[in-house]
């Protein structure tokens, strides 16, 4: 265990969720006759985090750094390769499937794309009833109806929405349906994977406010995943910054903004545009070179050293830094203190070319055209 392990887990501790050394590796397999595993996409590669009850943990990072995979692994939707996930004192990774299924009532998920996460052939009522039925909540139709109506109210949808289908709603309303689906089971934890990034600016704000209100009213615990630092900053108590499958920094929101310790966090902060010309004009940008390396073939040592303007000839390329506690923050950088003090100055980094992993279609996926033609 690293020295980042600060909070002592207790039976009904203050932390609702404890994640220890979680890894999710997706095998890459190919072979001549039988597929052999030739490598792994290390989507999540050793993450520790704890989420206190009633608080919001925000997770940010570039696309492909493993945020969604972490969220899903936490909910056991993707089986973790190793590590532990402790939810309210119950170890989830070893829970038998049946128990896990009933456990799901207490932890729910909100998805990025409100359209694709709703079954287009279900009307809102059956979308909401499905979870209730799965867990046997509500004695009969009327009882369930009541629960549903209350939830609809909570997310600000009218009652007539019940008989409607997802495609009849606007994006914001759809996202409200998604939230209602999560809420209807009365969960303790909600994992929101990019809950607003598919929405228009004005709608985004409505949903952010809604999430905020619901937390206050229902005492929910959130894990909010987003690539938009500003959104995360707005709703999170603690923010974790991910890079290539691992946390590089974790700190309370204000502190992270005021005193980013990890070079990547700094770069990220400086890249987020602020809708204020005054701020924009004054800002000093730390531009990162190149793109995120492939998680199938991550750099050795510190994963960030290939793009880091503060990278040093020693340690960075060989030794993988662990999360260390510095003040309120936990940071995974060998040189965090000298960088913070200004002792180390950034230097120029040249971009390296990065290959996107497996975007091509394989011929096996070419689907048969469903053409008629009897040939006779």
């Amino acid at each position: 265990m690293t020295d980042g392990n600060v909070s002592v887990p207790s039976e009904r501790g203050e932390n609702l969720v404890e994640v220890r050394d979680l890894k999710v590796h997706f095998p890459i397999s190919r072979g001549v006759i039988f597929d052999r595993v030739v490598g792994h996409v290390k989507a999540v590669d050793g993450v520790d985090l704890s989420i206190p009850r009633g608080k919001t943990y925000g997770l940010v990072g570039e696309s492909g750094c493993g945020k969604s995979t972490l969220g899903r692994a936490l909910l056991q939707l993707t089986p973790p390769t190793s590590g532990q996930v402790n939810f309210d004192g119950v170890e989830l990774t070893t829970l038998p499937p049946n128990k896990m299924r009933s456990m799901r009532r207490r932890m729910q998920m909100i998805f990025q794309d409100p359209m694709s996460s709703l079954d287009p052939r279900q009307n809102v009522e059956s979308i909401l009833v499905e979870g209730l039925q799965a867990h046997g909540i509500g004695a009969d139709r009327t009882a369930r109806r009541e629960i549903i109506t209350k939830t609809l109210d909570a997310v600000g949808l009218p009652k007539w929405a019940l008989s409607r289908y997802p495609h009849e709603f606007s994006g914001g309303q759809r996202q409200r349906i998604g939230i209602a689906r999560a809420l209807v089971l009365g969960p303790d934890l909600i994992v929101a994977d990019e809950p607003v990034s598919a929405l228009d600016v004005s709608i985004q704000a409505q949903v952010v406010n809604l999430l905020d209100e619901l937390q206050t009213e229902l005492g929910l615990t959130y894990l909010v995943i987003a690539h938009d630092l500003a959104v995360v900053r707005h709703i999170s108590d603690t923010i974790g910054v991910m890079y290539l499958g691992a946390l590089v920094e974790e700190a309370p929101g204000d502190r992270l903004y005021r005193e980013p310790l990890h070079p990547y966090t700094r770069a990220l902060m400086s890249a987020v545009p602020v809708p204020d010309p005054e701020v924009e004009d004054r800002r000093e940008r730390i531009l990162l070179a190149g793109d995120l390396p492939s998680p199938a073939n991550p750099p050795t040592g510190c994963r960030f050293h290939t793009r880091c303007p503060w990278a040093q000839p020693t340690r960075c390329a060989e030794e993988r830094p662990v999360l260390r506690q510095i003040g309120d923050s936990r940071v995974a950088c060998h040189w965090a203190e000298p960088i913070a003090s200004g002792e180390l100055r950034p230097h120029k980094v040249s971009a390296q070319i990065v290959r996107p992993e497996d975007e091509g279609d394989t011929p096996g996926m070419v689907s048969a055209p469903s053409e008629p033609g009897s040939f006779v």
Partner: protein, 334 residues
Amino acid sequence: MIRFIVRRLLQLIPALFGLSILLFIWLHRLPGGPETAILGERGTPEMRAAIRHNLGLDEPILVQYGRFMRRMIRLDLGSSIATKREVTTEFLQRFPGTVELAVTALIIAIAVGIPLGYLAARRRGKLLDHVSVAGSLIGVCIPVFFLAYVLKAIFAENLHLFPSSGRQDPTIEATRITNFFVLDGLMTREWDAAADAIWHLVLPGLALASIPLAIIVRITRASVLEVLGEDFVRTAEAKGLTERVVRQRHVLRNAMLPVATTIGLLTGGLLSGAVLTETVFAFSGIGAFIADSISQRDYPVLMGFIMIIAVLFVLVNLIVDLSYSLIDPRVRVR
């Protein structure tokens, strides 16, 4: 690439093994046997029993299969019960006809279908579009054997433009090398033989092409329409490229991928179509021969031919898959 080919070929072995077992059981479960076909009306039960015994058909099926397998491993497919010729000989004599016919049909379908589909897409909603879509719909719905009869009635019987039967005028003395008549004619410089063989291909080719043509027209049209709406076409337009360049370099090539898939899948159907087309045009090929072999329970021919066809089918699809990677660099064969 080579790995991919090797992998696909190796995968073929268990598949063929499975296919041979299924096929063997299936064929031998068909009621009756070759002896009835051989003897016709004149057969007596004793004579039938004698033939069955001679052919080893009275042995347990496992023993028979074992014998078949032992021969297979030596790549010997045995000989036809009906014609008493080696199965491979039969295949080499009849398959070229089917290939010539299928290739002709494909050439007609591609040469007419792709431009027509493309034009229909460009003129979407105009007369040409409607005509070609309606034509292709009818093309799919018309029974081939009926179409064949009509074609012959018009072009052979009345106009005497094309011959109505066979692969080549038998009065032409042609040398046979590969049994691909056109190819043979070209190889031996017997131009009249080659020309006559092509002449004989026109009507059956047209009949067999009707469905692939219809399908290709529609796939091309749909695919071109889709590509026309793609972002990169807009980019190409934004570069101010001439219309010809946009069309050839950007639209057509991208639209070809689904068309290539379709062409690969059409090969299986062409074989089916060939059964009827060959019968109606008295065209020597494997289609009608296999159909006859089924009714004659010519087990060695059926086993051999279908196994060879299965291998060829896989090979054709392998080639199609490889051709994707030529058309589309995103497709990595592995």
